[in-house]
Amino acid sequence: MNNTIVLGVIGADCHAVGNKILDHAFSKAGFNVVNIGVLSSQEEFIDAAVETDAKAILVSSLYGHGEIDCKGLKDKCIEAGLENVILYAGGNLVVGKQDFEKVEKRFKDMGFDRVYAPGTSPAESISDLKDDLNFNIGTMAV
């Protein structure tokens, strides 16, 4: 069963630590992680997902430009035939300390399936993704 996911940090963002942690955590949880790293463009996310037939794309944005950088990603996914690929976003998605519910709504409106508040632990998103992909823990290599 294919459990490939694409991981990366979008835009001109260089924050690498969370990305390395997510790579480690999702790999350990049995996912096949394709990590395109920091400073990745929308195109790089899509190319990686198409190439590897990924089931989900996990976009990180830490540096505050997430809103600008994520605009249009869902449309490009659809264009590339990735309409069913699950889209997550997390990190410090906007500039400044903002009410998270509003941020979540803005990103969901942009087509993201789930949106994570600053500092959410990997365990949470791993369990969500297993649900969303209907992965049974038993079937996964750990």
Partner: protein, 482 residues
């Protein structure tokens, strides 16, 4: 491009310059001669080098925040607020991330949208787009020296603009603004481009104008062992000095162990001076201590304590200045009010501890000697693989993992070393990767980590590293198993 640690000759410099100034329309406003004139009239109160020297001589730790917004008037308002309400001694202009990547078109979009939405959509001040005259406008409307703080691999145009704009300090360096900030920019390129920035500062100095340069000390800000950041700081200092830089502030990011933090700053000062003397550079040296640069706790009360703890260490270490975090750190770019809170909390600690000191007791002395020994081992090896040329040495050293920065995004970084805390909270090498160290040093680190393993009843492993990465944001220092 023939990278050598040699002063760029004038012909080459001015040839490169011609091109650099075309990178964005504001480049045309930079006139070096006119800039020198302008600079020579910047008063001492607004000159970074002068203020740092004064602080150093009187043993005071100055306080500097980070801050920057998209639009000029808002930026001026912000800086004045930090200066008047917070009492900031030195002012920053943090540059936005598009500028850092030389994506000036995107900056323009950001500026336009910020005007439209009447809030800053950029995470900093897009200085290149705003140009020389706006830099001057900023300087003229504040009372303290202004520095550009960024993270720009190619900062040549930025540097031209800020200095012509009267800003007397520039943060960055060919290593420290590449490896932690970029993915695929070569070191040859950034070292070469930063030689340009350093050379420009040198030219100002040769014309009697004092410009401060500050390599970015904390690197990835995440569990960087002091010997790594000190080695990088000293190397960037030497590279800058070769280009004629006369006023240098070397930096260090708090690790969290008071003893280690004091030792690191003392080792850095001491050893940098030794190297400058050895290579015959005449440099006015100061230091900057960065409050905790890793993941912060979200809770503001806890964040205040992390800020205070950094201030305590900065003060007892005797750093010339301290860079301030804010209670919003974990969540997003701070409001100006949150920024002022960070400054005030910091100043309060600095004022409480100003006349206090911790003497050089033997454990501290030993830590200093250990850091210096590890640092020397790295720097000497860099010279060695560069066959005596420091710039070439740096490139080779990163290829070979002699220099290796934990958790850095750059593909030119080896990425093999692993840091973890010992049982007392000091950052040690769990895995040296290819970092050169003698057996005694390696055994020392191993012993310390094994002691922690025994205490925690678990093996010394990558789990410790992960737990340590999250520890401070969870309100602790050492990531003990739960």
């Amino acid at each position: 491009m023939n990278l050598r640690n040699k002063r760029l000759n004038d012909d080459l410099f001015y040839k490169i310059r011609e091109d650099v100034l075309t990178h964005w329309s504001t480049g045309k406003d930079v006139d070096l001669k006119e800039a020198m004139d302008y600079m020579s009239k910047v008063p001492d109160e607004k000159n970074f080098s002068v203020q740092l020297k004064k602080a150093k001589d009187s043993g005071i730790t100055l306080v500097q925040p980070r801050a920057g917004v998209a639009l000029v008037d808002e930026h001026i308002e912000l800086l004045n607020y930090l200066q008047d309400e917070g009492g900031a001694d030195l002012l920053p202009s943090t540059i936005d991330s598009y500028t850092r990547q030389n994506r000036y078109n995107e900056c323009q979009t950001g500026i336009d949208e910020s005007i439209k939405e009447n809030r800053s959509l950029l995470n900093g001040f897009p200085v290149v787009n705003h140009g020389v005259y706006n830099c001057r406008k900023v300087l003229e409307n504040v009372k303290r020296p202004v520095q550009a703080r960024h993270g720009t691999p190619d900062a040549r145009l930025l540097t031209e603009i800020i200095h012509a704009g009267g800003w007397t300090s520039n943060e960055g360096g060919g290593i420290s603004y590449n490896i932690p900030y970029a993915k695929s920019v070569s070191l040859e390129k950034t070292l070469y481009d930063w030689q340009y920035c350093d050379r420009l500062a040198g030219i100002y100095e040769e014309n009697g104008i004092k410009i401060n340069r500050e390599p970015f000390g904390p690197l990835t800000g995440t569990l960087v062992p002091p010997s790594i950041s000190n080695a990088v700081a000293i190397i960037e200092g030497l590279l800058a000095a070769e280009q004629g830089v006369k006023n240098l502030t070397l930096g260090y990011g708090q690790c969290g162990s008071l003893l280690q933090d004091i030792a690191a700053i003392k080792a850095l000062t001491n050893q940098a001076e030794e190297y400058f003397e050895k290579y015959d550079y005449d440099v006015e040296l100061t230091t900057v201590f960065h409050q905790w640069m890793g993941g912060f706790p979200e809770d503001e009360s806890k964040a205040f304590s992390v800020i205070s703890w950094g201030s305590v260490a900065a003060s007892f270490a005797g750093a010339t200045k301290v860079i301030v975090k804010t209670p919003h750190e974990a969540l997003g770019i701070p409001t100006k009010e949150a920024n002022v809170q960070g400054i005030k909390a910091t100043k309060q600690i600095i004022n409480l501890t100003k006349y206090q000191s911790i003497p050089l007791f033997s454990e501290l002395d030993q830590e200093i000697e250990m850091i210096k020994r590890e640092t020397k081992c790295i720097i000497d090896k860099v010279f060695e693989v560069g066959m005596g040329d420091l710039a070439q040495g740096v490139v080779k050293a990163f290829e070979m993992g002699i220099l290796d920065i934990p958790f850095a995004p750059s593909k030119f970084n080896h990425g093999k070393i692993l840091p973890a805390r010992d049982n007392y909270g000091a950052v040690r090498y769990l895995d040296f990767g290819n970092i050169p160290a003698d057996k005694e040093v390696k055994d020392y680190h191993k012993k310390l980590l094994e002691e922690r393993g025994v205490f925690e009843k678990r093996d010394v492993s990558f789990d410790m590293v992960i737990d340590d990465i999250f520890a401070v944001s969870k309100g602790i220092l050492i990531g003990r198993p739960e």
